[in-house]
Amino acid sequence: MDDTRRYERLRERFQNGDISRRNFFGLLGAAGAAYGLQMPFARQAFAAGDVSQVRFDGWGGVVSEAFRKYAFDPYTAKTGIKVVDGTFPGGDEYLAQVRASQPGEYNIAHLSGVFDYARYHSFELNSELNLDNIPNMTNVMPALMNAFKSITPDSLSAAPYNYGTTGLAYNRKHISDEEMKEKGAKILIDEKYKGKIGGWSDWRTRLWYAALQTGQSPNDIQDMDAAWDAVRKHRDLALKYWASGAELMSLLAEEEIYVTEGWSGRIYALQEQGHDIGYFDPPQSFGWQECLFVIKGSPMAACEELINFMLDKETSIAVAEGQSYPPALDPTKVDLGEKIPKLPAFDPTGTLSGLTFANPNYWNGNEADWSKEFARVQRGY
């Protein structure tokens, strides 16, 4: 008996009143579903089902918009794989989420700093990229890749993407450029600005600046007591610890605070909005780089292709102009246009020798103690 005869018999039984309308449609539906499952295209549909989407998590805002326009949409058009983009408020929160997730739930993340790379490595969340699948990696500055290779010498889990600094931002109505240059990092513990000082509620940044204020090397603090005292002094003079880039911008723009350390790109954005805010990188200012990290358990080939799209010159430049952080592309190999060379922290030589990065072994080795101690110091201890 062929299918057509089967349907005709079914219809006849329905018309004779042998089966109810509900059963008739139920059986038709079941037949349709069975057909869909075993038809020739089903095989392709199931194969694509393995990697139907890739999840990307980043800092949101203009960066997400630029990624969507220049990387995600063209990528989906070419591969048929959807890109789900999420946002996170900070690296620590995101790592907590990833640790609580199932492998493969989170795929690519826009992580900050080499120490984050090292942390993911220590939690065994790192993957192995096949660089042959990412031809655009050849345009990336070797200096940025070497930082990651010092942690995972045999392979890379991430592609460097952009860099910036956490320098000093100040309201030029109240603090002159000369005063800023003269006082440097110590302006954050200057009694003169009591109640008008801000700071990031991040223990690394607090200790980095405490090292600068006490004349020590941030990657080798010898006198910890002096450093903690500087953190305490800053705490007592500060009005508020800010917790996000948006809050940093709002506090400066509303003149709640006159001086704080700040992220170079965000301060540049404030300047572009017309606020009279200065930005000064003191000697050994906090340099950092961000990367596109592929988390263990992700569909590697799909992620590698997406990263290649994101590293594309056009995408990199658009994202860099959107978030005001210079891209990881080597300026000696790639023409970066007009705007990027004017961004704060930009290094035209492509060596990044002028920036001081956090030594991941040093900072991660002390993370457990210092992050806990900072929670106490912050509360007045």
């Binding site: 942390r119 709002s250 509303e254 709640e256 806990k372 106490r376 509360r379």
Partner: protein
């Protein structure tokens, strides 16, 4: 024959009794399953976690260690923050009671438009709690509404620094919790027969005496229920100090957040969150011992 029939009857009665005994459990099963899976099981995870150890880097060490509990219970830092949290919660609760009682009284005794007033009371819940808290930045900030108004009126020359201290934290909490207090007091005032006040007046009491000796004592269960709710909710918040507090301002929940999210120390964070749960649970038990849960259920219903 009669014997057998009697036995069959007994069996039949027993099965009805057994069925009746089973029925509430069958009806409760969905709720109990949800509570078990969404509350009891995760709580057990937290209990187990609190005995693990965080290693310097990388994964946690499973096992039975008392280190976290010893640290949480003996360290003065946690005790101080816990007492400070309870203090802030108590001040918030008292402020809510003082502000909420007149409002609830007004709604309960108003004629005709009670429903509109209650809807107005509920309106803030339609806006995110975080947005409501952040609105104070636009009101009290240096370039906020209040400072602008004072400067415009010529009362002050320079903006006053009002934000980012303990007072603004309490202000934010009161703003968040006041509706809970008003609702609870309203429910209990609404249930009081107004004839009682008239009776007191007919016996020579002034309106104030009538209120003090009749209405207020009768509305105390609602006040207590609102108080408990405000206190417990206030003691568990961490967003308000982050948005409206200065560098030092923190409540106990902030320490839990920092331990779990910033320090990635889930075992210590688990022990801290259980300590807060135990302290607040004890308060609820004391409340239940003396006042009972019925009033709270009425207020929430």
């Amino acid at each position: 024959m009669g014997q057998r029939q009697k036995r069959r009857g007994a069996l039949w009665i027993m099965s009805i009794e057994a069925r009746e005994a089973r029925q509430p459990w069958i009806l409760l099963a969905p709720a109990l399953t949800a509570i078990c899976l969404l509350l009891i099981v995760p709580l057990m995870f937290i209990v187990v976690y609190s005995f693990w150890l965080k290693s310097a880097q990388g994964a946690d060490t499973p096992g039975f260690f008392l280190d976290n509990w010893q640290e949480v219970l003996t360290d003065g830092f946690y005790r101080d923050i816990l007492f400070n949290t309870l203090k802030i919660s108590a001040i918030t609760t008292i402020a809510c009671a003082l502000l909420g009682y007149p409002a609830a009284y007004f709604i309960a005794r108003s004629k005709g438009n009670k429903l509109i007033l209650l809807v107005l009371l509920m309106l803030p819940f339609w806006i995110s709690y975080i947005i409501r808290t952040m609105s104070w930045i636009n009101i009290l900030g240096v370039s906020g509404a209040l400072n602008s108004a004072l400067i415009w009126l010529g009362i002050i020359g320079e903006p006053i620094q009002m934000l980012y201290n303990e007072t603004t934290v309490i202000l934010g909490l009161v703003h968040f919790l006041l509706p809970f207090m008003v609702l609870n007091i309203f429910v209990s005032l609404d249930g009081i027969d107004t004839n009682l006040e008239d009776a007191a007046a007919s016996l020579g009491a002034t309106r104030w005496q009538g209120f003090l000796q009749v209405t207020l004592p009768l509305s105390l269960p609602g006040l207590a229920a609102g108080g408990l709710l405000c206190f417990v909710l206030a003691a568990g918040t961490y967003i308000t100090p982050v948005i409206l507090g200065g560098p030092r301002d923190a409540m106990f929940a902030n320490l839990v957040y920092e331990a779990i999210i910033r320090q990635l120390n889930w075992p210590l964070g688990s022990a801290l969150s259980l300590l807060l749960l135990i302290v607040l649970g004890a308060l609820v038990l004391i409340y239940n011992r003396y006042l009972g849960m019925a009033q709270l259920a009425k207020g929430l219903g």
